[in-house]
Amino acid sequence: MSDQKLQSQTVQTTGHAWDGDLQEYNNPLPTWWVYTFYATVVFAIVYWTIYPSWPFGKGWIGGVTNVTYVNSEGETKTHSWNTRALLLADLNEAAAAQKPYFDKVASMSYEQVAKDPEMNGFILSAGKALFADNCAPCHQAGGQGVVGFFPNLTDDDWLYGGSFDKIHETLMQGRRGYMPAFSEVLAADQIDQLANYVASKAGIAHDAGKARAGDALFHSETAACFYCHGGDAKGRQDIGAPNLTDKVWLWADVPAAQGDEAKVAAIRNVISGGLNKGVMPAWAGRLSPEQIKVLTVYVHELGGGL
């Protein structure tokens, strides 16, 4: 340590004096700092040659590194280094890694896919990703749906049928649920009677007298509910008319309604207002046949595989 000198003994001033006696020390930058700075300059020049860096005309100077990727049309493209091309190359690679599984799905029947442990694992992960990308905006992440808007896919009540084929049909063609607004053709007390009748079929507390009148109305040509919902009110899967006798409610939020009167009121609102929002788009053409097949098995499994 003896050779370390005090700075004051070595530092010189800039040689100029202000106000007669005010002088400034001339402290040069530390050597290590200066060389680090030179090293960054060298680094920058190397970087400019390897990677895109400078704007030039309407484009930029690309650098010497290239990225090769396959675009959505299946053409192989080579571009100067950029993160977008890297992403495309990565996506392409991931798709290639998944391809054997999708091919296998395409070659197997629904039952075979569902019963094969390895393929089932693929369905659970790939199906989840596909579901999250395409279905979750309406049916929610877990397929639980939203009461009053989108059906719950995790219960055992299928509006259009829960077999593999029916789910596949739903995915391919889409669905459109519709019920006319009965406030235009029926009086308020008639709607009230119908609501009490539906409540009686579903096991909700109701006015027995009104329900009897509603029963007659339900099966009459005046209201003609039975055409769609069936004589026993259990619905018709071929046209997507829901079963009114079970505990699952899509449009009328009966489970959340507080009190018997509110439950009947929720049913009354649906009868009087009708429905014109039960729309599911068709996915044929938007997703590949293999993807739709994966989703079919996944959704089938969501509902418990019934």
């Binding site: 370390q4 700075q7 442990p117 995790t154 055992d156 079963n243 505990k247």
Partner: protein, 506 residues
């Protein structure tokens, strides 16, 4: 006095080159044995074969792409990360324990910085010669000899550094293939980058920076210092004996034995007779020195010349000392040659040296800290051994599906769904059965997979759903899922899961 910027001292010190003299002795032998053993393990282990059915036949392989560590007969998966935590804990406690007992023994004998520096100094010694030759070479102008010798030294260092990096990488891939791939340009980029970084850092740390790493970079050396207690054994210079009243002094006629020794070195004199003479002369010399108040230290400076961190141990215990014991060897060599008693520099405790009647240096382990560290060490090592010995052949994770937490079915029943993930850690295919207790029979629905076969090292996913009537759901808050490997009912594991129902408070 006013303290200003201009009064500060410079914070950077240029490295003062250290040329260590080689020495023989017990500590040098111990250090060499540790070095040979450590190098043998480090450099040869990746080449040790180990027959495996489903993995490369390498005894120790950290298979990062496969997410597993193959350690002889044991396969470690990421789920076993607790073992790593235990191992790190044990390593830390072992360091504290040993440091409390015998000081920085890790630094002096086992640290890889010390080992590699030691080996690099050995190379330097082989090529450039003993300390005086190296000092001369250092001062010499850049002629042919200097360029050749220094070039050869650095080339050898680089070669060792390169193979150090290469060996490290060989732990992460099948070594025989990797080395071929590496030299044919087929290996992964990570391999080249790792080897380059390790080559450079080994060369810089063991060849160029050496003791600067210990002094300025390494945090362990510094925090080991605070674990010293007065009873801790450390390399100490017995100043009371060495300095006497008048201080140390070189051997001179009338004060030492040099004259007599020269006289005694008559050719043809019988060996035993000569030794006896030296002894008696030594005794005389010692008495003479002590009568003059001179200490036993002959100020030969050898303890400073052999020191790899360039300190003088006679200045007392200091932070730079890595306690490698080489100065003990050096001093004992000199003391022997003069016939003076050994151990002027020795392992001793501060407390013993300061006491009025110093006893023999002894290990004092009956201290709260040492016993505490020892207990923690035994406890944690025992737990690690127990955990490794009794680990199951599979891992399981049961998660309740939370979107939605429950589903009301058309007849009013309530259904909860669960995802069961089973990882087979055994060496062969295994079939697993899933069952449940605490719910009515038939409430558990496993779809197509009430039994599932899983390949070794793979995971299987099973969706389980449980359906209860509203009345049952009122009373059943949760139940147990049991996973049983077929043929090994003793390894069955149960997992408690909750059952949710509408209106229940979470």
């Amino acid at each position: 006095m006013q303290q200003g910027l201009e009064d500060q001292v410079a914070l950077y010190q240029k490295r003062i080159p250290i040329f260590t003299r080689s020495v023989k002795g017990a500590f040098r032998r111990f250090k060499t044995s540790v070095l040979v053993l450590a190098y043998a393990i480090y450099f040869l282990l990746p080449w040790l074969p180990w027959s495996r059915l489903d993995a490369p036949s390498q005894a120790l392989l950290f298979d990062l792409p496969g997410r597993r560590f193959l350690i002889f007969g044991l396969t470690v998966y990421p789920q076993d990360v607790i073992w790593l935590a235990l191992l790190l804990f044990i390593a830390a406690i072992l360091l504290f324990f040993v440091t409390g007992l015998v000081g920085r023994a890790f630094c002096g004998y086992f640290c890889f910085q010390t080992l590699w520096t030691d080996f690099f100094i050995w190379i330097e010694h082989r090529i450039q010669g003993e300390r005086p030759a190296r000092v001369r070479l250092y001062r010499q102008s850049w002629d042919r000899e200097k360029i050749l010798k220094l070039g050869a030294t650095h080339a050898a260092w680089l070669l060792v550094s390169f193979w150090t990096g290469m060996t490290f990488v060989a732990y992460f891939a099948y070594a025989p293939e990797l080395v071929v791939d590496f030299f044919t340009g087929q290996a992964a980029a990570a391999a080249y980058i790792t080897v380059a970084i390790l080559t450079f850092s080994t060369y810089a740390a063991a060849g160029l920076m050496r003791e600067q790493i210990c002094t300025y970079v390494c945090p362990y050396g510094r925090f080991q210092s605070v674990m010293y207690e007065p009873e801790t054994l450390a390399v100490h210079y017995d100043a009371r004996r060495g300095e006497g009243i008048q201080g140390r002094a070189v051997v001179r006629a009338g004060r030492g034995i040099a004259l007599e020794r020269r006289k005694s070195a008559q050719p043809g004199e019988p060996q035993a007779e000569r030794r006896r003479m030296v002894l008696t002369q030594s005794e005389r010399a010692l008495t003479e020195r002590r009568a003059q108040g001179i200490g036993d230290c002959v100020d030969c400076g050898l303890c400073v010349q052999v020191c790899p961190v360039g300190i003088d141990i006679r200045d007392g215990l200091q932070y730079k000392c890595i306690s490698c014991g080489l100065c003990i060897d050096a001093c004992n060599t000199i003391m022997d040659s003069f016939g003076f008693p050994r151990d002027l520099i020795r392992y001793d405790s501060e407390k013993n040296l300061a006491s009025t009647q110093p006893g023999r240096p002894a290990l004092h382990w009956k201290r709260l800290k040492i016993v505490g560290y020892g207990a923690a060490l035994i406890l944690m090592s025992g737990y690690l051994a127990y955990s490794v010995a009794t680990r199951g052949s599979f891992d399981r994770a049961v998660t309740q599906i939370r979107q939605p937490l429950y589903v009301v079915l058309s007849n009013g029943d309530i259904r909860n769904r669960y995802q069961v993930r089973i990882t087979n850690k055994a060496g062969q295919d295994q079939r697993y059965r899933i069952s449940a207790t605490g719910i009515p029979p038939h409430a558990l629905d496993l779809g197509n997979f009430s039994e599932i076969t899983i390949k070794p090292g793979h995971s299987g996913l099973v969706q389980a759903s449980v359906r209860l009537t509203p009345d049952e759901a009122q009373t059943i808050q949760g139940f147990e899922l049991i996973i049983t490997p077929q043929g090994r009912p003793e390894e069955a594991r149960t997992e408690f899961v909750r059952f949710d129902r509408p209106g229940a408070k979470p």
